[in-house]
Every structure is written in C-alpha cells, then in structure tokens.
C-alpha cells in the first residue's frame, strides 16, 4: 500500500529514520551478528585469541545431555503454562461474559497481575511457598503434603508454572473476553431457541468461533513462556534444584555470565534465535488467517 500524495525531499527521510536505524544497528544487528560469529568460534581461557571451529560448538551443545534436558524442561514448562493459562482464562472469560452486575470490578481485579513484573511475581510466589515460612507450604504440610521446591524438582516446576500462569491470566482473559463479546448475539439466541443449553452452546458455537483467538494466544503464551519467564526462574528457583527448572533462556544467561562459556552461550543464542523466528512466522500466518475470517 502506498500513499498517492507524498512529500519530496532528498535528505529529510534519512534524517527521520536515522535515530531508529542507529539504535537497531548498534544494539540489535551488530550484537546479533557477533552472536552468530561467536557461535562458530572458540575463545581461549584468557579471552586473548579466537579460533574458527565451524560447527563444533553446536555439536558439543547437542551432545550435551544438560542442554537436551533443558530443551525438555522448556517444552514441559511452556506447554503447561500455555495450556493451564489458556484454560483457566477461558473459563473465567466465559463466566465473566455472562455477568452484568459487577463485571467491571471483576475485570479490574483480574487485570492487575499484568502490571506486576515477572520478577516480583516470582518473589510473591516464593514467599507463599517457602518451605520454612510460607503460608501455603505450611497449610500443605498440615494436610500431609510435604512441599519443598528447594529439594524436589517436581515442586520447583510446579512453583514456576503457577507463578507464570498467575501473571499471564490477565492477558489471556482480556483477549478471550473481547473475543466472546464480538460473537454476534443472534447466533447464541438462535441456538437457544433451538433448545441448546449453555454447555452445548459453548462447545458448538462459542468455542469454535474463538479458535483464532485461542490459536493466537497459544503462540503468544509460548513466546511468553520461552522468553519472558527468565525473571520468574531467576527470582524463585535459580534453575534448580540441580538443573530441574533451567529453561533455555536461563541457561543462555547462566552459561554466558556465570559459567563464562561464551562459545556455548553464543550457540545457544543462535538456537533461540531460530525458535523466535519460527514462532514469529507462526504468529504472522495466523494474522493472515484472521483477515479471511
């Protein structure tokens, strides 16, 4: 799409673009190129010389059981976050859609977690579940469930999933509510006249019509679980116990800044880059679909 009427200037458009281009060249493209370059190199222990090693970093990476484990952890974590987050928010949105009185109050309260920083969300949850002083851990102990996310990897995974879902409910809820409200009332009424009860109407009308929203949220939640949850992990479990909650983003940070293994960290960056590209393409294909729909 183009404008018919344009301004003419040989230098002004360049000047207007300059700030954005400067920032993305220096802080986006240059570092990304460096990451790509470093992933094919090995640096000696003192950082004095670099050697070209081809795909060796990637070979080491994919032969490292720890990295493969981290892949599995991430897959488990992000599917749990996406599925739980979406089903809880959908349930809430469906009922919120029925409510007339007090709807705004519920909505306002449900939206607040969006404003909470992931790191702060992590701190709140770790406080509730702290084995020695957490209220919820104490209550669980009283009913015979021993909770210790510092020792038990299942508990640790549960904790980061809960914190991540809690934070994401607001976002999903708003999109589902908007989706539900855009479904024409006449469809629902027609079904009701034909004798369909609410349960049936949900599965045969509302849920299918929401499928573009659901798919979109699935992608967004995956991206969220892959990238934005770094702070939650860093504030709660530090990737532990052992490597049990060391998701890919946490591992890049840990290997690059704590373990100082630059080659491996760069190779991991490149793998992550490929994942983002795949997810972005997925997201944009969905948008094309939405236009037809």
């Amino acid at each position: 799409m183009e404008k018919r009427v344009l301004f003419r200037s040989t230098w002004l458009p360049w000047l207007l673009l300059a700030p954005q281009l400067l920032v993305i060249s220096v802080f986006f493209f240059w570092p990304a190129a460096q990451a790509l370059l470093q992933s094919f190199q090995v640096q000696d222990a003192f950082g004095l010389s670099r050697q070209w090693v081809g795909l060796a970093n990637f070979e080491t990476l994919f032969n490292d059981p720890g990295y493969l484990e981290s892949f599995k952890t991430t897959a488990l974590f992000s599917s749990l976050v996406a599925v739980l987050g979406i089903s809880i928010s959908l349930t809430l949105a469906v009922f919120a859609d029925r409510i007339i009185k007090g709807a705004l109050l519920y909505k306002t309260l449900l939206v607040v977690p969006y404003a909470v920083a992931p790191a702060v969300a992590g701190v709140l949850w770790v406080f509730m579940f702290s084995p020695s002083l957490g209220v919820v851990a104490y209550a669980l102990g009283r009913v015979g469930l021993d909770w210790n996310h510092l020792l038990d990897s299942g508990d640790a995974m549960t904790l980061i999933v809960m914190a991540a879902v809690w934070k994401q409910i607001s976002y999903n809820f708003l999109f589902f509510l908007a989706g539900l409200q855009s479904i024409p009332k006449s469809l629902i009424e027609a079904a009701a006249i034909d004798g369909a009860r609410p349960w049936r109407r949900f599965w045969t009308i509302q849920f299918p019509l929401l499928s573009p929203t659901t798919f979109f949220l699935l992608v967004i939640n995956m991206v969220y679980a892959f990238f934005d949850t770094f702070a939650i992990v860093d504030a709660t479990t530090h990737g532990g116990p052992g490597q049990a909650t060391s998701i890919l983003v946490y591992k890049v940070y840990y290997d690059g800044f704590k373990a100082m293994d630059l080659g491996s960290s760069a190779a991991q960056s490149v793998v992550l880059m490929l994942i983002v590209i795949a997810l972005t393409i997925l997201q944009f294909r969905y948008i094309e679909k939405k236009v037809n729909y």
């Binding site: 281009l21 449900l110 969300a121």
Partner: protein, 283 residues
C-alpha cells in the same frame, strides 16, 4: 444472556469470585507481611491479618536500612531510577517510531523497503537471544550503570513503528494536499496535523510501553552493578539473599508492593487505553 437462570448466575459469580480470590491472594499476603515485623513473619504460620508495623516497614524500605542480609539500599532511589528508565524507554520508543513511520509512509526514497524490513526483523531479536554481545557493546561504549545504558538498547521498536505506519496509511490524502496548498512543509504537517491525529494510538502505546519499561529485568540485571542504579525490580531481587529466616520479608514485601504500584495504577486508571494498546500492538 439468553436465559435467566438463578443457578447459572450464582455459578458465574462463584467462579469469578474464586478466580479473583486466587489472583488477589498473593497480593493480599504481601500486604499483610508488609505490616508486620520480620520476626512475626518468620514464625510459621505467619499472621493472616494486617499488623501494626505498616509505617515502620515502609519507612525502612523507602529510606534504606543500616544493615541486613541482602541489599539495604533505599527503595525511594530505586523507584526514581525505575521511573526515569520507564519514561525514557516509553517516550524514546514512541518518538523514534513516529519519525520512522512518517518517513516510510510519506516519502519515496531509495532502499525504503529494505529499511522497513530491517526494522521488522528486530522483532525476532529480543534481548535474550543476543544477550552476551549486547552487553559487550554497551560495556565498550562505557554505558554500564548509566541511564543511557539502561534505556537506549531497549528503545527500538518494530511494533510501535508498525502501529504508526498502519495508522498513517488510514489518514486521508486530502489532508496532505490541503496542508501543502496552505504552504506547510513536511515537518509542519507532521507536528500540526499528524501528531494530534495520532493521540489515541500514542496513549495506548504509552500504557503498554510504560509497563514494559518498568518491568524490565534481564537487561538491568546485566547493565547495572552499583546499588544507586538499580531499578526497583532488580533491587527487590538483591534484597533476597541467604536463608529464608535471614531475609527481612516484611521489607521485601513492602518493596514488592511499591514496585507494582505505578504500573498497576497505570493499568487500572487507564484501562481503556490499556486494552486498546494490547489489542493494537498484537495486530
């Protein structure tokens, strides 16, 4: 809704109440903890009703303490750093995106599409995938522990550029013609006509980007090493050190609430813009 069923209405309210309670419980607990002394909280189970230590806790948090297990820096300073950072990121992102969208939509120049795609591709390069080298660049430029280092690397924005581009394309061509006939140059047109027309988009983006900027974690974690440049989100993390019983949990929780207050206020008070911003930025 179609039918009037008492039972359904009751279930709907029950489900919503349950949802709201679960969502609000961590926040309530944080508030309760912030009104007690550190000693009260360590004795499990901690009290579930607010105590009387509210002022002392918040005063200690905001002004800093003498000694403690983790960082004891004053939270008031951290809130200031967070505010400046969030505002610079928000205003920066919106300004440079407005300018580049204006250039892309209203001018014809060589390599226009190339630049457009270049901006587009930054969507696929979040901080997480270029974290090591970006740190290197910022450290080489001597920008660690400065506002410039905290903000400039995060300022580029493909989403905002897109949003403004989409909006500019819907602005009628007649406006440009009229402006030109009245002798207005491109910048005059930009400031006097385009900018006022973009007000709603700017407001919506402002809300989203402010929260984004305020809640940044990974980048400030790397770019700041001195206490006086910690944003509050990093500060709270640094307060937690050592074992559970050594942390001053009342102060940590007070800081958590202070840290979420500005973005929460923005979301609740500007709910209309917030929802618009969410929907717009995902298009």
């Amino acid at each position: 809704m179609v039918e009037r069923s008492r039972l359904l209405k009751f279930i709907a309210h029950a489900v919503m109440l349950l949802g709201v309670l679960v969502v609000a419980f961590p926040l309530y607990l944080a508030f309760v903890a912030s009104t007690h002394t550190a000693q009260d909280i360590v004795q499990a189970p901690m009290p579930l009703l607010p105590g009387s230590n509210f002022w002392d806790t918040y005063k200690a948090a905001l002004l800093g303490r003498e000694a403690g297990a983790g960082s004891t820096a004053p939270v008031a300073r951290m809130m200031w750093v967070s505010l400046v950072t969030a505002l610079v990121i928000t205003v920066g992102k919106i300004s440079i995106s407005l300018l580049s969208a204006f250039a892309i939509v209203y001018f014809r120049f060589p390599l226009k599409n190339f630049f457009f795609w270049m901006i587009f591709i930054t969507l696929m390069l979040p901080v997480e995938v270029r974290i090591g080298p970006t740190y290197q660049v910022v450290s080489d430029l001597g920008m660690l522990n400065s506002y410039a280092g905290l903000t400039i690397p995060l300022i580029a924005s493909a989403t905002a550029t897109f949003l403004f581009r989409q909006f500019f394309l819907t602005v009628p061509d007649e406006l440009v013609e009229a402006a030109r006939m009245d002798g207005a140059g491109p910048m005059r047109f930009f400031f006097d006509i385009l900018l006022p027309l973009s007000r709603t988009s700017i407001a919506a983006l402002f809300v989203i980007q402010f929260i984004y900027g305020w809640n940044q974690y990974l980048w400030p974690l790397l770019a700041t090493t001195t206490e006086d440049m910690y944003p509050v989100v990093i500060g709270i993390k640094r307060m937690i050190a050592g074992g559970d019983s050594q942390n001053e949990w009342n102060i940590v929780m007070a800081t958590a609430l202070l840290a979420m207050l500005p973005p929460a206020l923005v979301v609740v008070l500007m709910q209309k813009w917030f929802v618009k911003g969410l929907v717009d930025t995902e298009k």
